[in-house]
């Protein structure tokens, strides 16, 4: 019989896969017999085709394998046995159990953190009864590059106008979050004050624990205080109703009476407050009076509550018309000066944005809880999944590695008729059991890591949240799921062992198959990638922090003057300048980083620049370098319309050289068409993430200052600060002394980046820890399995070191491959990340080498123990035992 005249082998395998065991033999036999018969009369091709057709014809219900366990007996009995054997195995192999448990519990910890995090993030603002009907008003531009950009700050009359014009709007609330200084007797506190209409409590669910918020409607000097804040100020358990507090508003302390205590806003609320103060108080200030009925001053957050089941689309459709009706004057001006040319269509509309979108609308912070980019969820989930992957790989590696020790058990079970699916089920229940054991360890890890995680993710997760029944249930599922996931490969491999082979051969283990090698490479590649990322990020952040910003920042202290009377501050400033430790003092409106935009139209073009409003001495005092023209004279004749600009500004205007140009179209706070008298070299007044923006430096006194920038001489900082504080106390005994260091303010820009960097480092360390644990376990198995080989080599005269080196080369070549993969992936991902920064470093070989070194050292530590083991091998003992 010719060997090639056989039915197609793959068709047989296909049948073996699908046809039930008790039918397979006769059916295949019949097919083969028919095939032989056809061969005698027909061609091989015909016989094979008919074989295939017949084989397909066999796929009938009666012949197919049942994929559902068909046992009619109670499976629980077997489960009991599985668990018992599983437990014995767990106890017997202590070392491996510990490694498995740690790996899996780290994986479970990662998943649990992500679960808790997403659980709290996705529930943001959904706890309000009316949450579906509450909207925030935003201004949306209908065309690009216009004066009306996206904004959440709304003018004062908007809320009333909406309520009057639309019957579908049930209620509105305007609010203005502010950080104010609170005085209670001699103590000062910083309070998150929410200046708001009392309708806040009608629309949102912020229940009062005591008192009554309706008092706020009649009397604007009544306030609501949060419970936590009340405890902080007055002490625990004190009756605070009708107590008096003082808040500083517009420069003066005003007295308020506590009308009620509210439950603390939940952590998943965008709206946060320590104290709710009636908005009336803001509207009664000089600033507030000007904004009443003015559609041009936008500064209030405005929320609306729609009536249930109203036509939301209809409301949106009426918004263009609403704009035209109320902003007619502004439209006229725009049409006149040419900045708008379509009288039938508004340049922007006021649009309602659903409350549930607040937390993810990255472009619109509310000054309360900063929104979160949903992109962050994906990155964090990916990190958790990587940790999960690595943990599961450890479990797989070790379970397969020591599988030969269980071969006898599998053989016996199979001989007694255990089905493959039953064995797989056994291994799964074992790994699920390990997963559940790992959960208790994961809870411990969770407890240890939560403070760090809370810092990294900017959350307030707490361990007790875990013990809510629904969360605990999910965690149990996560734990069992992790175990099952980890057990997939082992259960398939182990249950496939052939009993005959098991008993005939004595397999000693110690093989490192291609599969195990790839798993080790994956583990180290993933961990090396995270470390690589952490190194590069760290360098980029240090680069941004250390690059000379072009403005003196060392020893510069920024002192908040808190809207105190100008004359008093000036006197204080004069005296401070006389002190020996002070180099220079300059009053400034906003301290760095500066994000104060002025915009103006000229020739139908819209220009924007940052405004730095300061004293005349600012340029010299803080080391700004002039490239053309001059700075401000110390006294007259420089008028308020003399401006110094930066190079970026000259580029924006298209001025090649300074030649007495003006800024046409500029009109702000009493300055019209100013003259440029000097140009300063570009300096970094914002984060280095951004290109240097156009900037103007003005001495216009109508830009009120609110900070003093003090440049100290070299010397002991704390002593200088104390002296400054003493002087401040002399002048303003009743005011808080609030200061910061300029270098800190500038570095604060990178806090977010630094947290990402730490998150990467954190994940990287956990990953490499898991990988090293796995390598430790795997190398132990490797050496144990080859103990006799080692014995023979020793007899032949090899030294322990030589044998060990031989093994090392195997592992280290894997780690080199892993590092190369990580290096390439890291280069691709990180160079894209670096492009997000206007000023960036380039990834160098040093980063790669650094990462490789760290990975090598850790891996070497993981297998170092094997050297001792190799050395202790006594050939006489080992070889005799065999």
């Amino acid at each position: 019989m010719k060997a090639d005249k056989r039915p197609p082998a793959w068709a047989d395998r296909f049948l073996e896969l699908l046809i039930s065991d008790d039918k397979l033999e006769m059916l295949q036999g019949d097919l083969h017999e028919l095939f032989r018969e056809r061969l005698t009369t027909h061609s091989l091709w015909y016989a094979r085709s008919m074989y295939l057709i017949d084989a397909l014809g066999l796929l009938r219900p009666f012949a197919l394998k049942s994929f559902i366990p068909s046992s009619v007996t109670n499976p629980m009995i077997m489960f009991e046995n599985y668990l018992k054997t599983g437990w014995r195995n767990i106890v017997r192999e202590k070392w491996f159990t510990v490694i498995n448990l740690i790996s899996l519990s780290l994986a479970i910890t990662g998943l649990s953190i992500i679960f808790l995090y997403l659980n709290s993030e996705l529930s943001f603002d959904k706890f309000h009864t009316n949450s579906e009907n509450i909207f925030r008003m935003v201004r949306q531009p209908l065309s690009e590059g216009q004066q009306f950009n996206e904004d959440i700050n709304m003018p004062e009359p908007l809320a009333k106008a909406l309520e009057n014009d639309f019957a579908s709007i049930e209620n509105t609330v305007r609010m203005y979050p502010d950080n104010q200084l609170l005085r209670n007797g001699q103590d000062f506190f910083r309070a998150e004050v929410l200046l708001s209409d009392p309708s806040l409590f009608d629309i949102f669910d912020f229940p009062l624990l005591a008192g009554d918020y309706t008092a706020l409607i009649k009397d604007p000097s009544q306030v609501i205080i949060s419970r936590e804040f009340a405890n902080r100020i007055f002490g625990n358990g004190v009756d605070v109703l009708n107590r008096t507090i003082e808040l500083r508003q517009a420069g003066d302390f005003k007295s308020f009476t506590v009308a009620g205590v509210a439950a603390d806003p939940p952590r998943n609320s965008t709206i946060q407050f320590d104290i709710v103060v009636p908005l009336q108080n803001l509207l009664q200030t000089d600033f507030g009076m000007e904004t009443i009925d003015s559609w041009n001053d936008a500064y209030l957050l405005t929320f609306i509550q729609l009536r249930a089941a109203c036509d939301q689309q209809g409301l949106l459709d009426q918004m263009p018309e609403f704009w035209m009706r109320h902003r007619a004057t502004a439209m006229e001006i725009m049409l006149e000066n040419g900045s708008w040319d379509d009288p039938a269509r508004p340049p922007a509309i006021y649009a309602p944005q659903p409350l549930r979108e607040l937390h993810s609308s990255v472009n619109f912070g509310t000054r309360m809880v900063p929104p979160v980019d949903p992109w962050k969820y994906w990155v964090l989930s990916a990190m958790a999944l990587f940790i999960l992957l690595l943990g599961c790989i450890n479990f797989t590696l070790l379970t397969i590695g020591k599988a030969t020790r269980r071969a006898a058990e599998i053989g016996v079970r199979k001989t007694f008729g255990a089905r493959r699916s039953q064995l797989a089920m056994q291994f799964w229940s074992e790994s699920a059991l390990t997963g559940l054991l790992a959960l208790s360890m994961a809870l411990l890890f969770l407890y240890i890591t939560l403070p760090r995680v809370n810092y990294l993710l900017q959350t307030d997760l707490e361990i007790h949240q875990v013990f809510a029944p629904e969360v605990l249930l999910v965690l149990l599922v996560i734990a069992a799921g992790t175990g099952i996931l980890a057990g997939i490969y082992p259960s398939i491999i182990l249950s496939g062992f052939d009993p005959v082979r098991i008993f005939r051969e004595r397999n000693s283990g110690g093989h490192s198959s291609f599969f195990s090698k790839s798993l080790i490479v994956i583990q180290f590649a993933v961990s090396a990638f995270f470390l690589f990322g952490a190194f590069v990020m760290n360098d980029q952040i240090n680069f941004m922090k250390q690059k000379d910003p072009g403005i003196s920042r060392d020893g510069v202290v920024v002192l908040s003057t808190q809207q105190l009377p100008d004359q008093d501050i000036r006197t204080f400033q004069k005296e401070l300048e006389q002190e020996s430790f002070v180099n220079a003092v300059s009053a400034i409106r906003f301290t760095l980083p500066i994000y104060a935009n002025a915009g103006w139209f000229y020739n139908e073009e819209y220009f924007r620049a940052n405004v730095l409003a300061a004293d005349r001495n600012f340029i010299e005092a803080f080391g700004l370098e002039l490239t053309a023209g001059r700075g401000f004279y110390a006294e007259e004749p420089d008028s308020v319309s003399a401006f110094v600009v930066n190079e970026a500004f000259m580029d924006m205007m298209g001025y090649e050289q300074l030649d007495g140009q003006t800024i046409p179209g500029y009109n702000r706070r009493g300055v019209q068409e100013p003259v440029i008298i000097g140009v300063v070299k570009n300096f970094h007044f914002q984060s280095l993430e951004n290109e240097i923006q156009p900037m103007i430096i003005t001495i216009n006194p109508n830009e009120p200052f609110s900070n003093l920038m003090i440049r100290m001489r070299a010397g002991e900082v704390s002593r200088n600060l104390d002296l400054t504080k003493d002087l401040w106390r002399d002048h303003f005994p009743e005011q808080a002394f609030e200061f910061s260091f300029l270098s800190d303010d500038l570095e604060a820009e990178y806090a977010g980046q630094e947290r990402w960097n730490s998150t990467f480092r954190f994940a990287g360390l956990i990953n490499i820890f898991i990988a090293c644990l796995g390598l430790f376990g795997f190398s132990t198995l490797f050496v144990t399995g080859r103990i006799r080989e080692i014995g023979i080599r020793k007899v032949m005269g090899a030294s322990s070191l030589r044998i060990f080196t031989r093994f090392c080369i195997q592992f280290f070549s894997l780690i080199i491959v892993a590092c190369l993969i990580a290096g390439m992936a890291g280069y691709l991902v990180l160079s894209r990340w670096l492009q997000e920064f206007a000023y960036n470093i380039s990834i160098s070989l040093t980063h790669f080498l650094l990462m490789t070194c760290v990975v090598f050292i850790l891996a070497a530590l993981a297998i170092a123990y094997q050297f001792i083991k190799t050395r202790e091998v006594n050939p006489a003992v080992i070889l005799r035992e065999g």
């Binding site: 059916l27 295949q28 083969h32 017999e33 032989r36 017949d54 066999l58 009938r60 009666f62 012949a63």
Partner: protein, 112 residues
């Protein structure tokens, strides 16, 4: 009277299994069916019918007789059991009873 439902194809297969008298297995049944009826059922269809007959308790089976053509695989031989014979007999009786009651149909007519 217990009546076992049986399709026409099943009945044929049952008849062939009985006729082969202990030599009935997949390939031989198929061959005989082809000889007597000209039908050429697929192995799948045939075994499906055999499976149903076995489930109805009309035939028994046993495995032996491996040969080289079958790649060393055993055959499954099917044998008709008393219940199967009973069903065949009853079916035959039913048919002959009814066929005589058709006017103009009797044994002589049938033979001619």
């Amino acid at each position: 009277m217990k009546y076992t439902k049986m399709g026409e194809f099943e009945e044929l297969v049952l008849l062939v299994v009985g006729a082969l008298d202990g030599e009935a297995y997949g390939v031989s049944i198929r061959k005989m069916l082809k000889q007597h009826t000209g039908r050429n059922p697929s192995i799948g269809a045939l075994h499906s019918a055999l499976n149903r007959l076995e489930e109805k308790g009309l035939i028994d089976s046993d495995e032996y007789g491996a040969t080289a053509e079958r790649g060393g695989r055993r055959k499954r031989f099917f044998k008709i059991n008393p219940a199967g014979k009973n069903v065949l007999r009853r079916a035959f009786e039913l048919r002959s009873e009814l066929i005589y009651s058709i006017p103009g149909m009797n044994l002589t007519n049938l033979n001619s």
